[in-house]
């Protein structure tokens, strides 16, 4: 039976009310209970703060709403956003890349012991249904936060390595990998849900939308799909926070996270960089070091 720990979120509700009453923010971006499960909500009235919840089904990465291309959200004004430690990495990424000023957002850090993959299941959190991103969770609460709410939580369940499948693929030959990815991506219909839910895909004009010239064919055939997904994975090199939202959003159930995690592995190995929720850490793309490996330049 699913048990909602109501009293642990009273601090979230009280904090939100205070922030609105004191006009520190115009809206709280958090989670509410939808008909089927929790979902993002924008609360602008003090009375509606009672709707705010947080539990193990709140998998959504709310940092996606902080992109400057979200004109409707920007119109609301200064926001307070509920962030788990993993979500805070995306907020740090936006700050790091000058899409957001730290002082323009209030971060309500929430203590989290793991979330399920599917917010609309009513199950208890277990090793079978835990979201992939939790498998390597290294902290229960974000360092990047103005406030912290919720009770302390144990680490998420599950010990399976998220990268077991990745290692399997790495063991294949390049030809086998191409065949595998062509097949996996054949289900893609280019809905671009992966891009739209990604907090780090905030380009004013995505390369896939450009037509003069057409860099990436928009048709959902093998050539177009490979071009799109590989380009996106490369454009996220050193930037993807591995929240897994792209995979969750994909209506074709394509394991997109594998591409991003492969690129993240390469970035870690070559540049010693892993995503962090510290905005002052320079990005590997944006920073040049004299000791960067460059044996590929002959």
């Amino acid at each position: 039976m699913f048990v909602l720990r109501v009293n642990s979120m009273q601090d979230l509700k009280e904090l939100s009310k205070k922030l609105l009453e004191q006009k520190q923010v115009s809206a709280i971006l958090g989670y509410e209970h939808g008909r089927r499960g929790p979902r993002p909500v924008f609360v602008t009235e003090v009375a509606d703060c009672e709707r705010l919840v947080f539990d193990h089904r709140c998998v959504h990465n709310l940092a996606a709403y902080l992109s400057p291309r979200r004109t409707l959200v920007a119109q609301l004004g200064r926001l307070a956003v509920v962030v788990k430690a993993c979500d805070a990495r995306a907020v740090a990424g936006l700050i790091r890349e000058s899409q957001l000023k730290r002082e323009d957002v209030v971060l309500i850090g929430v203590r989290c012991g793991g979330v399920v993959r599917d917010p609309n299941g009513a199950e208890q959190l277990s090793a079978d249904n835990v979201a992939p991103r939790c498998l390597e969770c290294d902290k229960r609460e974000p360092a990047l936060a103005d406030h912290l709410v919720g009770e302390p939580k144990p680490p998420p369940p599950g010990s399976a390595s998220r990268d077991a499948r990745l290692s399997e693929i790495e063991a294949l030959s390049p030809g086998e990998r191409l065949t595998l990815w062509t097949s996996l991506l054949s289900r893609c219909t280019r809905c671009h849900a992966c891009r739209q839910v990604c907090p780090m895909c905030f380009c004013e004009r995505c390369i896939a939308d450009k037509t003069q010239p057409t860099w990436i064919e928009t048709s959902p055939h093998a050539r177009g799909n490979l071009a799109w997904h590989l380009t996106r994975a490369l454009h996220l090199a050193g930037r993807c926070v591995n929240c897994g939202e792209c995979e969750r959003a994909c209506p074709a159930h394509i394991p997109l996270g594998l591409l991003n995690r492969k690129v993240a592995r390469v970035v870690a190995e070559r540049y010693g960089y892993r995503v962090t929720d510290d905005p002052s850490t320079p990005t590997p793309i944006g920073a040049y070091r004299l000791d960067d490996e460059q044996e590929f330049i002959q």
Binding site: G34, R35, R36, G37, P38, R39, P40, V41, F42, H60, A64, Y65, R70, T71, L72, V73, L76, P119, N120, R165, T189, R190, C191, H192, A193, R195, Q196, V197, D209, T214, E217, T218, S219, P220, H221, G224, E245, R248, A249, C250, P251, A252, H253, P255
Partner: protein
């Protein structure tokens, strides 16, 4: 005509085997397992064992069978100033869909309206012509199903050439169309005539689905036609990512893009690809002006098209209540809840309710 037949589970398998052996493409729900997660999708089967007729609803609609995500409209060859066009075929290989959900079968008929509106889309109708749909009454539903609210039901025969109702040991078959009759003629041995009174259906889900959403489409339409500027759109659109996953899994969404894909300098193909009104580019003029410049305007368009514009033009709601948009949405946009809210608002106001 309405011929009643029985079809045992074994004979359905044999029928499918016969079709495959004869070179007919058979499309059915198939179970895919990837990284421990199972999903059901419509897909071509090479043997009857691959079919999964007892699983949950396929997560993508059947429209792909007659309206592929990408389709070549024609090819061209070019040499200096001269161009030659290579036509694409408009007649297609015979396909039989086994186990179509009623919401998916009905959608095909609903889309026939726009595809035949003044100009006849030969590619759509060519595939429709070549496809025989064996629909299967639903034996399960979930809280996102709302087919009854849009004039259908878990046992709706709309769009079906054969309608299969699960009974003990197999299915009862209603043959509903000439095309269905032709298929029966070729496989009569597998389907003896039904004897006596019909066996009770395995499941009757209509009441259960009805409980999910109780609205009248005509009232929804009346509200939509008079509330273009309602605050509802902005409020809903805040949460929406504008991704179009809803449109792509939807059995009735049919908007498409047309692009030229050169293959080198001496030729190429013009294709049509699935597109969505949820994309910011959808209505973007070359000048840079966009009549639908925010997600509120785009989300409104989706709801209006389905529940006001298409009904006004063709007398049909452009939605079969399959619930896929609700299940797939990463942001928790919930059409059932939205329609319920509009229905309540419309009722409260009296008047147009």
């Amino acid at each position: 005509m309405n011929t009643r037949r029985t079809l045992s589970t074994a004979d359905l398998g044999a029928l499918v085997g016969d079709l495959i052996a004869a070179g007919t493409t058979v499309v059915a729900p198939i179970r895919f397992v990837d990284q421990g997660r199972a999903s059901i999708e419509y897909g071509p089967v090479q043997s009857p064992d691959e079919m999964d007729l007892d699983g949950p609803q396929p997560s993508r609609s059947l429209k792909e069978a007659v309206f592929p995500p990408t389709e070549v409209l024609f090819r061209w060859r070019q040499a200096k100033s001269a161009v030659e066009i290579e036509e694409v075929p408009v007649s297609f290989k015979e396909t039989v869909v086994v186990g179509a959900r009623p919401c998916d079968a009905a959608a095909l008929e609903i889309l026939d309206r726009v595809m035949g509106w003044d100009f006849r889309d030969e590619l759509w109708f060519g595939r429709r012509q070549a496809t025989t749909v064996l629909a299967l009454a639903c034996t399960r539903c979930d809280e996102s199903c709302f087919c009854t609210a849009v004039g259908l039901s878990p046992a709706s025969t709309r769009g079906a050439d054969w309608f299969l109702t699960p009974v003990e040991g197999g299915f009862e078959v209603e043959v509903l169309t000439l095309k269905g009759q032709a298929l029966l003629e070729r496989h009569k041995a597998r389907c003896p005539e039904a004897e006596g009174s019909t066996t009770k259906r395995v499941a009757d889900l209509e009441q259960e689905v009805r409980a999910h959403l109780d609205v009248r489409p005509d009232r929804i339409r009346a509200w939509l036609e008079t509330h273009f500027d309602d605050a509802l759109w902005k409020r809903l659109a805040l949460r929406c990512h504008g991704c179009g996953a809803c449109a792509f899994v939807c059995p009735t969404c049919h908007c498409f893009d047309m692009v030229d894909e050169p293959d080198g300098i001496d030729g190429g193909a013009r294709r049509r690809n699935w597109d969505t009104c949820q994309s910011a580019l959808f209505t973007l003029h070359g000048s840079g002006y966009n009549p639908r410049k925010d997600q509120a305007a785009r989300f409104r368009q989706r709801i209006l098209h389905k529940f006001a514009i298409y009904p006004k033009r063709f007398g049909e709601v452009l939605c079969t209540g399959c619930g896929r948009c609700v299940r797939v949405c990463a942001a928790g946009m919930d059409l059932v809840a939205i329609l319920a809210e509009i229905g309540r608002t419309a009722a409260e106001r009296g008047g147009s309710a």
